[in-house]
């Protein structure tokens, strides 16, 4: 009796799954689906609404996280994946995948010190790495004073805030620190989640911004949009060229413009610490990942058309959400890459 009950449960569950997956399949016939990075979700959904109005093609994007997006595109259950971390050559070749950037975002160090206005604090990569390594523990440390001779910095302990959830923001931030500081690279390294030597973790950009606002003498890193919208004190950074730069749309684009895309196959390049004179050092992008020989060619064509449309006509929507559209030079390289790599 018991076993027959069990097998009937198993049957019901299997049937439910079968029904659900047929639904997903039939939806795919008319619409295309993408999944992955939550970083691009707001702008992709705004784009897809406008694109659907124009062409009638629906882009369903599910923000399930970069890891999930990579897994889904590998399994071929979506038409495109989106990841905040680029895939390496070996993985791309093994699965026959290609990748290209979609939109740019900036990451800014944010702080909360009484009497220091937003944009007045200057930091460089080494100092930031030492703060996050726990080597610089007070705001009046000589290294910070040297960068900010005019500021009145308190003798207070620094409270370090980082992301507690795995995120592309953390990946780009830790990648930047790895590029600057050999000690960071050896002790911590880079990833969407890392083993933080010091500090407290806030969930999401909103969690980190909330902690920074509440805890005096704290420092953290957030996406530009959050620092801007929450009026948090952001720091300006000394970049690879030795210039002190502001986090602005122009400077984020300068980073994307001067990053060494030409020498990187499949856009496998994290553009932190870009060499340009005005380049903001912690600039990030996320990558769209698609099969070079897609199973469903019609869907893939719609996806390419969508991203082409977004590069050309989606710029204002991106800016309204504090994202940065790709500079024309990079768009051109991407379109060449499509022509050369994707066989349809």
């Amino acid at each position: 009796m018991l076993t027959s009950h069990k097998s009937s449960i198993r049957f019901a569950v299997a049937a439910a799954f079968a029904v659900a997956s047929t639904f997903a399949m039939s939806a795919q016939a008319t619409d295309i689906t993408g999944a992955g990075s939550s970083f691009v979700y707001p702008v992709v959904s705004k784009w897809s609404a406008a694109y659907a109005q124009k062409t009638g093609n629906q882009i369903n994007y599910q923000s399930i996280g970069s890891g999930g997006g990579i897994a889904q595109i590998k399994a071929g259950t979506v038409d495109f994946g989106a990841s905040d971390m680029p895939l390496d050559e070996a993985t791309l070749d093994k699965f026959g995948l290609g990748q290209f950037p979609d939109v740019i975002g900036g990451i800014v160090p944010a702080f909360n010190i009484d009497g220091v206005a937003p944009g007045k604090m200057v930091l460089d990569g080494t100092t930031l790495a030492d703060i996050y390594l726990g080597k610089i523990t007070k705001w009046n440390d000589p290294a910070i004073v040297k960068l900010n001779p005019k500021l009145k910095l308190p003798a207070a302990a620094i409270t370090v805030v980082h992301r507690s959830d795995g995120s592309g923001t953390t990946f780009n931030f830790s990648d930047y620190l790895s590029k600057i500081s050999p000690e960071w690279k050896a002790k911590v390294g880079e990833g969407t989640a890392v083993q933080w030597p010091v500090g407290i973790g806030g969930k999401g950009n909103e969690g980190v911004s909330a902690y920074i606002k509440q805890i005096k003498n704290s420092i953290g890193y957030v996406e530009y949009a959050y620092a801007y919208q929450n009026h948090i004190g952001y720091a300006v950074m000394k970049n690879a060229a030795g210039n002190v730069v502001e986090p602005t749309i122009a400077n984020f684009q300068a980073a994307a413009d001067t990053a060494d895309w030409k020498d990187s196959k499949n856009f496998n390049l994290v553009m932190t610490n870009a060499p340009g004179a005005k380049a903001w050092p912690i600039t990030a992008t996320s990558w769209v990942i698609m099969y070079k020989q897609p199973k469903n060619v019609a869907n893939a064509k719609v996806a390419f058309d969508f991203f082409k449309w977004a590069y050309e006509h989606g710029q204002d929507q991106a800016r309204s959400l504090y994202y940065v559209p790709l500079p024309p030079s990079l768009v051109q390289q991407i379109e060449t890459y499509w022509k050369n790599e994707y066989k349809m």
Binding site: H5, I70, K203, G207, I215
Partner: protein
């Protein structure tokens, strides 16, 4: 007047009783199925977390249990810090919530005037219905700033007491194990107190009145009559609350500080099993994902061990009563 012979009635009765027996059988099976469904769900969840976490649980074995380092970059994981955080925050919550719940329940059943019992009882039940994310937001935006304002005073007073002083020394961040424990206490309070209130109402009035008649004070009646009469249900209620505290995720994630620390200070940030999973699962792949699922399995184990201890305690109490 029609004459009714006895024979058809007897036959009817026979048929009725046969039908009744069949209905009873069906009913019993339906009930059994419902009960087995719970068991199957529990076993399924436990086994699937065990399976999902097998790479880490069987690959790393004891090192996973005993290491306090959690390093996604090197793919080396240790569960000690989340287990520590889970147990400490739940313990703080219990220490604070149990006496208060006891007080609430006793007041409502024994002391409060009749007009007050209904509204206050309803308020407690409403408190139980508040989603945990709301407690989390309240914790983060209201309670954390308050805690950070009183923590210096806490460090200066309680922090100087020998032995337990260490627990209250640390930076006044407002976030941390103590804050998380207090928020959890508020969250589990309604569960424990409403169970206690229900069972205290079941104590027969004549027992209490006899005790009063013998000259007992209210406290003596409560401690010597009401509590022993309802002891096992009260402990059941406490462990219901504890179960919620062990598994609570969102509220804790907001106020705990989410860092893989094992510290002697309650003012320092920490992490719990469920908040680690909630934080990192979205972006985790490979070993990292396996480690998080293994953490989920450990939460089963921890909860099971805690419930086991509760059973043993109850049995011990029952034995002592027998003497």
């Amino acid at each position: 007047m029609p004459v009714i012979s006895a024979e058809p009635i007897a036959r009817d009765n026979e048929q009725r009783s046969r039908e009744d027996a069949r209905h009873d059988r069906i009913f019993r099976r339906v009930l059994k199925f419902c009960a087995l469904l719970v068991l199957a769900a529990l076993l399924g969840a436990a086994l699937s977390t065990l399976w999902g976490g097998r790479e880490v649980l069987f690959g790393d074995g004891l090192r996973f249990l005993l290491s306090d380092s959690w390093n996604p970059v090197d793919d080396k994981y240790g569960a000690l810090a989340p287990i520590f955080g889970t147990l400490v925050t739940s313990l703080i919550a219990l220490v604070l919530a149990v006496p208060v719940s006891f007080g609430i329940a006793l007041f409502l059943t024994e002391i409060a005037p009749a007009w007050m019992r209904g509204p206050v009882g309803a308020a407690i039940e409403l408190l139980a219905g508040i989603p945990s994310i709301i407690y989390g937001m309240w914790g983060l935006f209201v309670f954390v700033p308050f805690m950070s304002s009183i923590e210096p005073a806490l460090s200066n007073t309680l922090g100087n007491i020998p032995l337990i002083g260490k627990l209250f020394q640390g930076p006044p961040l407002g976030l941390g194990l103590l804050t998380a424990g207090i928020v959890l206490a508020v969250m589990i309070l309604p569960f424990i107190s409403s169970v206690m209130r229900e069972v205290f109402q079941t104590v027969p009035t004549r027992l209490k009145e006899s005790s009063y008649a013998l000259g007992s004070t209210t406290w003596e009646v409560l401690w010597d009559i009401v509590l022993p009469y309802t002891r096992s249900a009260v402990i059941g209620g406490i462990f219901l609350g504890l179960g919620r505290a062990l598994g609570e995720t969102m509220a804790v994630t907001f106020v705990l500080g989410n860092s893989y620390n094992i510290t002697s200070s309650l003012l320092m940030p920490g992490t719990t099993i469920s908040s680690s999973i909630a934080n990192e699962f979205n972006e985790a792949v490979g070993m990292h994902r396996s480690a998080l699922i293994a953490l989920g399995f450990l939460l089963f184990v921890v909860t099971f061990v805690v419930l086991l201890i509760a059973r043993l305690m109850l049995r011990q109490l029952a034995k002592r009563e027998g003497k």
